[in-house]
Symmetry: C2
Subunit: 237 residues, 2 copies
């Protein structure tokens, strides 16, 4: 207790040296494959197969599966296995209900809505525009995710942040369900910009209201797009 400073410094080194456990590394690999689209929704993840493929024991794989299930990226069906989650319409509605609850509240009442935070939002919008003009829709999507995460962070609650991170990660799964997910975010770029405009004028309630409409429109468009996709798929089979 004599010198907290040294302890803090060592803690820092600790953090640098912190090697994630095997199960966390396995979970991270699978996570990337899932949200990156390399493993499609509905795919069965067999313990032995994964174990053989990436060289960790079944025990470790099971632990990793547990994490993915806890994050809702996968679903466990008892005695059947774990499958990459396929978000249902209900899931999408719930995801947007969560966002409707948290994001506008963070905008309007979040204690972290500082000028620096607004400037960061502005920077993200600028980056998104560059991505759009450069013909890189992936950059636009990524910027959009960063934007909404930054909005949530204005609530200054790590627990809510974590929830929002999980929600936005699940959203990536949703986008992979669509036949054409590349240009989905483009129309919303300028609406993000409008929200930043309002924030720069300290009109937080209006910004929150704009975000609420934004989210409702996005949900509508997403559900409609997926309905036609689902109809197509049903017709094909």
């Amino acid at each position: 207790m004599s010198n907290d400073g040294l302890a803090a410094a060592l803690q820092h080194l600790d953090h640098l040296a912190a090697m994630p456990s095997a199960s966390e590394r396995v979970a991270e690999v699978l996570r990337q494959q899932i949200v990156g689209g390399a493993i499609r929704s509905g795919t069965r993840l067999t313990e032995e197969t994964i174990s053989a493929r990436i060289g960790f024991s079944r025990n470790t794989i099971r632990e990793a599966f547990g994490m993915l299930v806890a994050e809702r990226l996968a679903v466990r069906e008892p005695h059947r296995g774990v499958f990459v989650a396929t978000p249902s319409r209900g899931d999408i509605q719930d995801l947007y209900a969560t966002r409707q609850l948290i994001e506008p509240a963070a905008l309007e009442f979040g204690p972290g809505c500082s000028p620096e935070a607004v400037a960061q939002l502005r920077a993200i919008v600028v980056a998104a525009r560059e991505g759009r003009d450069a013909g890189r829709p992936e950059a636009v999507a990524e910027a959009n995710q960063r934007f909404h995460l930054a909005v949530a962070r204005m609530g200054r609650s790590v627990r809510a942040d974590q929830l929002m991170l999980g929600v936005l990660t699940e959203m990536r799964l949703v986008f992979h369900l669509m036949d054409d997910d590349r240009r989905f975010h483009e129309p919303y770029l300028e609406r993000n910009a409008a929200i930043v405009d309002l924030l720069e004028q300290d009109r937080r309630p209006e910004a929150a209201a704009a975000l609420r409409e934004y989210l409702a429109d996005a949900e509508r468009q997403l559900v409609e797009a997926l309905d036609t996709d689902w109809a197509d798929r049903a017709r094909r089979s």
Copy 2:
């Protein structure tokens, strides 16, 4: 596809027959002991000890530990073990930041704020008053938890609900930190009642504002109480 009704009914039976896995049962036992105060904050949970005590293998215990850690009821220190969480001041502030973000938003904008939902809140307040008048502060605390969970449910988001359930569970850990946690909730009972009054008059913005003040006061009182507790404990040692 000929009869969804039957399928739904079978799904229901499935659910009734669903026996939780061993690790979930172990986690549930430990959860109850922790939030009930039988295992105090900071206690080390040794894999072998627990394994021997409740008769499941170390592997299963480890899985259960993972769940508790994911719920923040326990903390894992690599190569040292898992310990029952002891919420810090930062944790308390974060818990209340989360509540400030979600609960008032659910009150003001939640699509689940139906007359029935308000009536349920009213019933909870009545039950809390009975508990208070019967000299059962535990009943008051439990009703208070139910109240705020019901508020959150107005957001109609199972993901946010789950977060709030976790937050309220963590709050129980916080209360166990106090020397006197029995009568903490009593002063807030009538403020809950006032919020229900406003809701019954469809004055949702005012109800949300009242809840925001409520939460800020509760946080202040809690941090102060714990500060003196911490000071006492430091002085004693």
